[in-house]
Structure formats: structure tokens, C-alpha cells
């Protein structure tokens, strides 16, 4: 029983560790779609930011410079997506996909030409990364049964960016529902001509959403390469941008449900890590390939079976044209 409890604790701990970049990217997608711009380039933005952050951290020796570089890179990509889909009313899926493909190819090429490490960036040492933080009170809590163990093992001991990511969930909800910006953002994603006739710039509002999405993806990417990992590796985002999109839809474009969806996906990801090579009752050892499918199977089931009737923002994916 004790061993089982400890297994669960470890699973929860790695879920929290994995959920950081996921929820950041999902919130980025949420802000973009709430403004009416479909953004499937979350993946590319994260990957670009991961590369820029790792490269900058390796060159300057500062994780914070890395964070800055990651965010700026991601914002630049977000503005590119905005330029195509907002200013030129281009096809948003194509633009997003193009960004994903370009970044997937460009990042390793640049890494190779700058560092000559086969498309990777140099391994970052502790001082160049966001390392785990021990929360206050751990010593006292470690003596408390269950709750104390959960606090010490699950809540404490994550990197700064993970805490930032989780704190951004209530903050995003507050911005969306309690501020003028949030009201306008939600309005422009539902009916841009209502916003236009109210005298607010649809274009500028959507660009603001792009910038917010850029910042969030920037932090997500940075956390991949300088917090969870120690350097940039080719394709290190591994579909997390798309998983984040799925979580956003599962969470019905609302911050808190989106966090829960992210936790579900992160938990299944953690579970597949734990289950590899483990002998299970009845079925025995399942081959690794099937185990690794777990998070994606959960995603498909979640989207296909449990989402029910979903309603995306009404103007999502539609460029704004003032009608005659």
C-alpha cells in the first residue's frame, strides 16, 4: 500500500513537471482563438523559443537572457502569423503549418552552423538553467503524513517556470472575465463587427492577442530547453503544441478547465513513462510502442468522446472584412 501511494506521488510529481509547457501553450492558443485567430503554430513557436532560449543561455551563461530570447523569438513568429492572418486575411491553418515546418527545419540548421553539435545546442549547466525550487516549510511539512508528503514531493521542487505557468491560469481567467481587455478580446472572437461598430480596432485587438500568445509560447519553449531539459534537441516539442490545442478545446476555451485537461494529458504522459517495461497484472508487459501511445490515445478519446457539444468562438478562423 505504501509503495502504491509512493508510485502515485511520483506520478503526480512528474505530471506537474510536464504540465508547465502544456498549459502555457494552451493558454496561448486560448488567447489567440478567443480573439478569432486559429493558431496551430503553437508547436513552432515553442520549438523556436526553445532553440533561441537554449542558444542564448549557452552563449551568455544566463537563463534569464535565454528566457528573453525565447520570448522575443516566439513573439516574432506570432506577429508573422498575425501579419498573414490578420493584416492579409490569409489562410490561418496554412500560415500556422508553415511556421511549424520552417521552425522545425531552421532551428537545427542554425544550431548546427553555430555550435557544430549535430543540430543541438551545448549542454547547459545548472547556472544556465531554471532549476528546481524548494518551497518554504518543506522541513516542517515532511513530518506530516500524506498532506506533508504531497506538499514536499508534488507541490515543492519544481522550476520557477512551472509555478509561473500555473499562476497564469487564474491570472488569465481574471484578464478574460474581469478586465476591459478581456471583454473586448472575447467580443472580437465572437462578432468582430460588433467590436468594429463600437469603435474599437479589430486589427489591433487581434495583434495584441498574438503578442500575448507569443509571450506565453516563448515561456513554454524556454521551459522545455532550459528548465525541463538542458539544451535544445531537434523536435523537442514533440507535438506538445498540438496536445495543447486539444487541451484548449477539451477545456472549452476556458482557462481553468483547460488546466484540468492539461493535467489529464500530462498525467497520461507521466503514466506512460512509468509503465514502460512494468509487468502489469493479467496483461503482462506491454511493448513500449503501445505504452507510448497512451497520451495520444487519451487525447483522441477525450476529444471524440467526452467533449460533447463544443462551441468555439464564433468568429474563430475567420478574417475580418467590413461588409458593404
Amino acid at each position: 500500500m505504501e509503495a502504491f501511494f509512493f508510485d502515485i506521488v511520483l506520478l503526480l510529481d512528474s505530471s506537474i513537471r510536464l504540465v508547465g509547457p502544456l498549459i502555457l501553450a494552451a493558454l496561448a492558443g486560448l488567447f489567440a482563438e478567443r480573439s478569432g485567430v486559429v493558431d496551430i503554430s503553437l508547436e513552432g513557436k515553442m520549438l523556436g523559443a526553445a532553440f533561441a532560449a537554449a542558444a542564448a543561455a549557452a552563449v551568455t551563461g544566463s537563463a534569464w537572457v535565454g528566457l528573453g530570447a525565447g520570448i522575443l523569438t516566439s513573439i516574432a513568429l506570432a506577429l508573422l502569423h498575425g501579419f498573414v492572418s490578420i493584416t492579409h486575411r490569409g489562410e490561418q491553418i496554412v500560415s500556422g503549418m508553415a511556421i511549424n515546418i520552417v521552425v522545425a527545419g531552421l532551428a537545427p540548421v542554425l544550431a548546427n552552423s553555430w555550435f557544430h553539435l549535430n543540430g543541438q545546442t551545448p549542454l547547459l549547466d545548472e547556472s544556465q538553467r531554471f532549476t528546481s525550487i524548494t518551497l518554504p516549510g518543506v522541513e516542517v511539512m515532511s513530518n506530516v503524513p500524506v498532506v506533508g508528503t504531497l506538499y514536499v514531493e508534488v507541490i515543492s521542487g519544481h522550476n520557477l517556470l512551472t509555478y509561473v505557468a500555473i499562476a497564469l491560469v487564474p491570472l488569465s481567467a481574471w484578464v478574460l472575465y474581469k478586465t476591459r481587455f478581456g471583454l473586448r478580446l472575447r467580443a472580437v472572437g465572437e462578432n468582430p463587427s460588433a467590436v468594429d461598430t463600437a469603435g474599437i480596432s479589430v486589427i489591433w485587438l487581434r495583434y495584441q492577442a498574438m503578442i500575448v500568445a507569443g509571450v506565453l509560447c516563448g515561456v513554454a519553449g524556454t521551459s522545455l530547453s532550459t528548465a525541463l531539459g538542458a539544451g535544445f534537441i531537434r523536435d523537442m516539442s514533440a507535438g506538445k503544441g498540438f496536445l495543447a490545442l486539444a487541451a484548449m478545446i477539451f477545456g472549452r476555451w476556458m482557462p481553468v478547465p483547460t488546466l484540468l485537461a492539461c493535467l489529464l494529458f500530462a498525467f497520461s504522459d507521466a503514466l506512460q513513462g512509468r509503465l514502460q517495461g512494468v509487468e502489469l497484472p493479467v496483461v503482462g508487459v506491454i511493448s513500449v510502442q503501445f505504452i507510448m501511445m497512451l497520451p495520444y490515445v487519451v487525447t483522441v478519446i477525450a476529444l471524440a468522446g467526452f467533449v460533447g457539444h463544443i462551441r468555439p468562438p464564433a468568429a474563430s478562423g475567420k478574417p475580418f472584412v467590413r461588409s458593404r
Binding site: 471583454l183 463600437a198 458593404r324
Partner: protein, 518 residues
């Protein structure tokens, strides 16, 4: 005269099209000013310039005698203009209150702004009789209520001049009446109202002055009390308009279409039809009245083989064509003699990018008369189309022009021509004159009556009461997926029908004229 708003020589071009050319108009303060004209006469363009949505190419706009330049709606709003657009500019999931404050929230945080707005809005609702629950999401409101929200939006922004663009198009007669009460109240409070409409009855009922537009120009200004609906109609069209339809007495015969207890769902799987029964006989026009969205579209789709029924039956010419088990598709029904002029002609009836000739045979493309050596023959198709265009007065008579390039009225004439020429036993017509100019309306009405006189049954779905009253031999009214009333047009007043459209039972005195054929 105290002029609140004046347009001088306003001109606006879109590419080669001159939408407004040297438009002059003066609107007196504290009056209701009507602006009439056919579709495409330039009314909306003019109003969009006044409201800052378009910038004029030439000419000027004066408010209180001072020239103004608006680079966007915000500046127009700041100068005391408010506009209620034909298609409401509301955010559906938002509450009424949120919709009203959108764009003028005062502060970056909503908390205080909301409570302040609530007080101000309450006062406005009371003083103008614009009652609507502030915390209801707009998507749960009726069309009439949504319109009130739009008016409240404008008043909340302290509009002195209120522009109403085709405000009654989607309202029941009762809702229209209460809108007019509100307009009168606003005018008495000193507001200036500009009413854009193509319904002359409304102009005569509520306006003080009226400007008539035709072909991008204001062709006449009248004091309402010194003109008549007939004169205005003539000014709008540019020639005399006859309204009489020459119906002959046709001996009532057997029912060609019987609909019995029909139920069906809409696209979102909600019940749209909840047990509809009626019959149509050869040689009669059965009109279906009702506010759009009360099941009429779904009813037509089931009868024409485009939607499955969940219960009930449809018999056409003695054949069971639709039940909950199965239904005949459109092509099989067409072969049985069912013609259909769809209410949304560019969605169901025609392909906008294809030529008039190609459209003129759509649905009948397998017919041998368009083929030679087993292939479609362009010459035969063109000949057929030319013939159709001449008979149905389609202008311009260019068979190779894409259908999207024709005006709504000419598209409709082509669509009706195509169906009528195939000698249907029953013609189902949805909104035959929506987006159609007055001249074409008369032509279309004549054709429908001629078809009826020739013994064809016609099922006419329309949201224009006037049209139904003029054409229908018998009328049923739909509300919320059921037949809420029926009667003979001659024995029903608009008020009766309005009540039925709102879901009240058939008024006693109209009697039951037999929805079912015994």
C-alpha cells in the same frame, strides 16, 4: 428649419460602381426622417458614410451646420450618432449589459464600470419603455428584444441622431408596433431618427419627412403628409407600379400534397417541427406565414427531400415521399413533378460562379433535351437559357454571365423560370421576393398567379405579410414548429396574423377553414 444632419453632394465609388452620386439630404431635428429606395439604390452606403464606416470620395457631411469628417465609427458615436444595423452587431454569448458597455467601459477593470452602467441603463430602460433583462445572454433573446438592446446601446452612448436600418424586416406586426411607439417616444424627447426601409406603409405611418433614393441619387424629398405610398413607389422605381394580381377562379380539386403530423430536427438536432399537418390542392396558393426561424425552412426541406423527418408522413400526388423510415431525395421528387425555388437561392438553388446557362438546367442536367450524342451540348443549353431569359425578362440577357453577376431579382426570375418551365404539379417557393426589387416583385407575383390559374399547386413561404395577403388563397401561420393558426387572407387582419405569429391560438372569428382535406 433646424437641421440636425445634412449631406451635401456625397459621392462614393466602389471600383467602377458609383454607389452614391452627389447625394443631398437634410434631416430636421426632432423628426423621424424616412429614407426609401430599392435594394442597391444606395441607402446603406449613404448611412455607412454618415456613420463613418466609409469615407466619401466627394462632398461633405454637416452636423448642426458644421462640417465633420469621420475616420471611423468612434468619431461618429462621439458626435452623437447612433446606428442600429440591419444585421445586429451583438455578441451573442454576452449579456445585455456587457453588449451595451462594450467599447465604452470607462476603466481597464470591469467591476465599477459594470455597476455604474447598470444604474444608467435602468434609467434608460424606464424612460423609453425599452424593457429587457440586463443579465440575459443576448443569444436567449427574441429578435425584437435584440433590437431593443441595439437601441439601448445607441442611447447609452448618448446618441442624438439614431439611424435605424431596415428595423422591421424580422419583426412581427406587434413587435413593429411597439418599435414605432419607442420611435415616437424618442422623437418626443427631441431625438432625431433616420428610418431606412423599403416598406412604404411604415414610412407613411411614422415619418415626418421622406427622401427617396434611386440609382445612387436622392430623386425626391417629400413631407410625408403631402405624399402617398403610390407616389413614393413610383419615385422609387421610376415608373408606375401596378399591384393588382389577376386571379381567376379555379375549381378546387384534390389535394396534391398532404403533410401529416410531421416532426423534424434542425441542424443542431433541436426539434424544429413538432407535428405539422396541412394539405395543398391543385390550383391554389397556400401561404405559410411566420417569423423566420419557426420551422418553415425545415418544413420545406423535408418536403423537398433535403432533410429527414423524425415522425409523421408526407404524401405527394398520392405517393408516400417522406416518413421517419425513409424519404425520396430531391431528384426523385423532381421526377414526380415537384418544383422548388429555394429561399436561399445561392445556397440551394444556384451556383453563383457558374453561368446563367449552366444554372438554367441545374437539376435537369440529365434531361435528354440538353444532350447530343450522350454529352451535354452547350448550344442546346444556351438556346434553352436564351429562351428562358426572354420569357422571364431576365436582364441583362447574357446566358454566359455568372449568376452571381445578376441582381437578386434577375437571379430569382431565372430560378422561377427554370422550375416553372418543367411544368411542376406543385411548386414550393421560399421567400420569392427576398432581396428582389419592386419591379421584379410584380413580375414574379404575376408569374406565380398565372401558374396557379393554370392549375398548379403552390406552397408559398414568406415572411412578408403583404405578399401573402396578396397572393395566398389560404394561409397557415407557423410558430415554434407548429401550425399556430390558419384562415382565409380576406377574413384575417394583420393583427390576427401577428398574434398567431407570436404563437397565440387562431382567433375565433376567422373560423376553421379546413387545414385538412376531407
Amino acid at each position: 428649419m433646424n437641421v440636425a444632419l445634412e449631406a451635401r453632394h456625397l459621392t462614393k465609388r466602389f471600383g467602377d460602381v458609383v454607389a452614391n452620386s452627389g447625394v443631398n439630404m437634410r434631416v430636421e431635428r426632432g423628426t423621424v426622417h424616412g429614407l426609401v429606395g430599392e435594394n442597391g439604390a444606395g441607402k446603406s452606403t449613404l448611412m455607412n458614410m454618415v456613420f463613418g464606416l466609409y469615407q466619401p470620395d466627394d462632398g461633405e457631411i454637416l452636423l448642426d451646420g458644421k462640417t465633420v469628417h469621420f475616420s471611423g465609427p468612434q468619431e461618429a458615436i462621439d458626435m452623437g450618432l447612433g446606428m442600429v444595423h440591419q444585421h445586429f452587431k451583438l455578441v451573442e454569448p454576452f449579456t445585455v449589459l456587457e453588449n451595451v458597455i462594450l467599447g465604452i467601459e470607462d476603466a481597464p477593470l470591469l467591476g465599477d464600470a459594470v455597476s455604474k452602467a447598470r444604474t444608467k441603463l435602468e434609467a434608460l430602460e424606464k424612460s423609453y419603455g425599452l424593457e429587457v433583462n440586463m443579465d440575459t445572454p443576448v443569444e436567449d433573446l427574441s429578435v425584437g428584444e435584440r433590437q431593443r438592446v441595439e437601441i439601448l446601446k445607441a442611447l447609452y452612448r448618448e446618441a442624438q441622431i439614431l439611424i435605424l436600418d431596415e428595423p422591421t424586416g424580422v419583426l412581427t406586426p406587434q413587435e413593429t408596433e411597439s418599435l414605432f411607439e419607442i420611435i415616437a417616444k424618442l422623437r418626443d424627447e427631441g431625438k432625431t431618427i433616420l428610418l431606412i426601409t423599403h416598406k412604404l406603409g411604415e414610412i407613411m405611418a411614422i415619418t415626418n419627412n421622406v427622401s427617396v433614393m434611386r440609382g445612387g441619387k436622392v430623386v425626391a424629398e417629400r413631407v410625408t403628409s403631402e405624399t402617398s405610398a403610390d407616389e413614393l413607389a413610383e419615385l422609387m422605381v421610376g415608373r408606375a407600379v401596378t399591384k393588382e394580381v389577376g386571379k381567376t377562379v379555379v375549381k378546387a380539386s384534390e389535394a396534391i400534397l398532404v403533410v401529416d403530423g410531421l416532426c423534424a430536427n434542425d441542424d443542431t438536432m433541436h426539434k424544429a417541427l413538432k407535428g405539422v399537418s396541412f394539405a395543398v390542392r391543385s390550383g391554389e396558393i397556400l401561404g405559410i406565414a411566420g417569423v423566420s426561424g419557426n420551422g418553415q425552412s425545415e418544413l420545406v426541406e423535408v418536403i423537398t427531400g433535403m432533410r429527414a423527418a423524425t415522425a409523421g408522413e408526407v404524401f405527394f400526388d398520392g405517393v408516400l415521399t417522406a416518413s421517419s423510415d425513409d424519404f425520396l431525395k430531391a431528384d426523385a421528387l423532381r421526377a414526380l413533378g415537384l418544383g422548388h425555388v429555394a429561399e436561399d437561392r445561392l445556397k440551394f438553388g444556384m451556383v453563383s460562379d457558374m453561368s446563367a446557362a449552366e444554372n438554367s438546367i441545374l437539376g435537369h442536367q440529365k434531361d435528354a433535351r440538353y444532350h447530343k450524342h450522350g454529352l451535354l451540348n452547350p448550344r442546346l443549353i444556351t438556346e434553352h437559357c436564351d429562351d428562358l431569359m426572354q420569357k422571364y425578362d431576365v436582364r441583362p440577357p447574357l446566358s454566359q454571365l455568372p449568376v452571381g453577376g445578376f441582381s437578386g431579382g434577375n437571379q430569382q426570375k431565372l430560378a422561377i423560370g427554370r422550375e416553372v418551365e418543367n411544368n411542376p404539379k406543385l411548386l414550393i417557393v421560399g421567400q420569392p421576393t427576398r432581396g428582389v426589387d419592386i419591379g421584379a416583385i410584380a413580375f414574379i407575383h404575376d408569374r406565380l398567379v398565372a401558374l396557379r390559374n393554370a392549375g398548379c399547386a403552390i406552397l408559398l413561404v414568406s415572411s412578408e405579410l403583404e405578399e401573402l395577403m396578396a397572393l395566398a388563397d389560404r394561409l397557415i401561420v407557423m410558430c415554434d414548429g407548429v401550425v399556430s393558426g390558419e384562415g382565409l387572407p380576406a377574413k384575417l387582419s394583420e393583427k390576427d396574423i401577428g398574434l398567431m405569429m407570436a404563437g397565440h391560438k387562431t382567433p375565433e372569428h376567422s373560423g376553421n377553414v379546413g387545414g385538412r382535406v376531407s
